[in-house]
Amino acid sequence: MDSQIKHIHQQLVDQQITCTALVQEKLNLLQENTHNTVNSLLDKTALALAVKVDTKIKNGEKIGLLEGIPFGVKDVYMLQGTNTTASSNLLKNYKSPFTATAIQKLLDAGAIPIVKENCDSFGHGSSSENTIFGAVKNALNPALVAGGSSGGSAVNVAKNFTIFSIGGDTGGSIRQPAGYNKIYGLKPTYGRISRYGLMAYASSTDCVGPLAKSIEDIRIILNVMSGKDAKDQTSITSKEIDEKAISNNTVKTIGYFKNFIESDAIDADVKADFLTSIEKIKATGIKVKALDFFKSDILVSTYYTLAMAETASNLSRLDGTNYGNRIEAENLIETYAVTRSENFSEETKRRIVGGNQVLSQGFSDEIYLKGLALRDQISTNFDKDFKEVDIILSPVTPSAPPKIGESLKDPHAMYLSDAYTVGFSLAQLPTLTIPQGTVTGLQITAAKNNEEIILKFANFLKETI
């Protein structure tokens, strides 16, 4: 599919549609939808912004490319004055006092936020079932999960309820739902987009990223949101990606991880489809190398050990003192404990407790510090790989999306389903899901700050496989 942003922009400029009608149409679709993608609609503010765009066009003023384009925001981003719940009981009435840098950049470019989107509570999940707003239903088959944690965002894009959505990816939370709903989803290099105003899950892998229906739209949104931000000191400077720069493929060698494909856990169809894609790529003259990598259980365990430790720390601020759904008890300590016990979901509690386990005396050396050492090795392994190959290609998930209800029954199985996404998060590498190649798509990964080569190769694969 070509750029929807450019198409709608042209329709607005040519006055074939009004921005008000466009925004109203999307709001109606969101309101009526039965996929549980909406936590709150931003109807009043969105329509007010749309009227301004229409007035500008009527007055013959020039509008920017993103001006008047309706988009969705995962409900973990601060957007001043809107409810920002993280799909949790604790924050169900919380209002953002300020706006996240990434979202502010889109607002400054004239894009119109129309919905805060359902997701796993605090990003804790891979199915968007861990939410007080009801499980998000897959765009293609509502009996299946939408994936997670940015499930509402992926379904809204897939169903054309939003033109694009902004998700958050800590261990696969953009890439996996993008794959489950057959759209594009990018986790950029860690730090390329400021995390300021994104509710922290695991700060060392949290990334802001776009979900959209075309590579060109991903490029446009990435360019707008990228950049160093004094409010996030881990953010980095990056170069804008030009449209022409991603039109011709320059990738000569790609790699894939042998053990991902030879694993017992991979579905036969996913394996066969992946290998067919590899053969099609080889047929174009591109060299393909089978690479050695860490076992899936090591990747998943390293990721969850560190992510749980970080989330236990990040969520310790949620005690009902300054904000949140406080439940009064007989004293301060009890108030904290009852507030947290009653308001956090089972999955969130499981992760907080796990994090405190690994950070506690006696366990930190044996588990947490060892996890950090393993992460270093995983990252070093990638450095070595990217001396030999330009791109690493992998399936997004080992299997097709599960039925709603299955993931909640077996959390360990849900953790293991992240096997193919978490390694790239640990190494802070840019990775794009494309809706091709297997039932849940393919991931294209490059070395840090190489989003340009990823988008270039995605354009090439669009025509090749």
Binding site: G320, V338, K370, H412
Partner: protein, 89 residues
């Protein structure tokens, strides 16, 4: 106070217990054999240089930001946040 703090106290979650699903993950780490014990995070070094720190200046919040912060207070009296009276321990 006992020196051993259980996870329910550390987590401020009543009756919290380590879970089997998570312990399975930790067992994998316990049994892993890293080629080194370097936990210094040398590869993903995201710290900012001291020469590149942002200006240490006070930025006044906007009126709307202050108003929203007050709206978020779980309990308030005369526009002020009400907190528990006594910190016992």
């Amino acid at each position: 106070m006992s020196k051993i703090m259980t996870v329910d106290i550390l987590s401020s979650i009543k009756g919290a217990q380590p879970s089997e699903a998570v312990n399975k993950l930790f067992d994998v780490i316990k049994n892993a054999q890293p080629t080194n014990n370097n936990s210094l995070n040398n590869v993903n070094y995201n710290c900012v240089s001291v020469n590149n720190l942002r200006e240490d200046v006070v930025i006044e919040s906007s009126a709307i930001e202050k108003q929203l912060i007050i709206e978020n207070f779980p309990k308030k009296k005369n526009g002020y946040l009400v907190v528990a009276k006594v910190i016992e321990d």
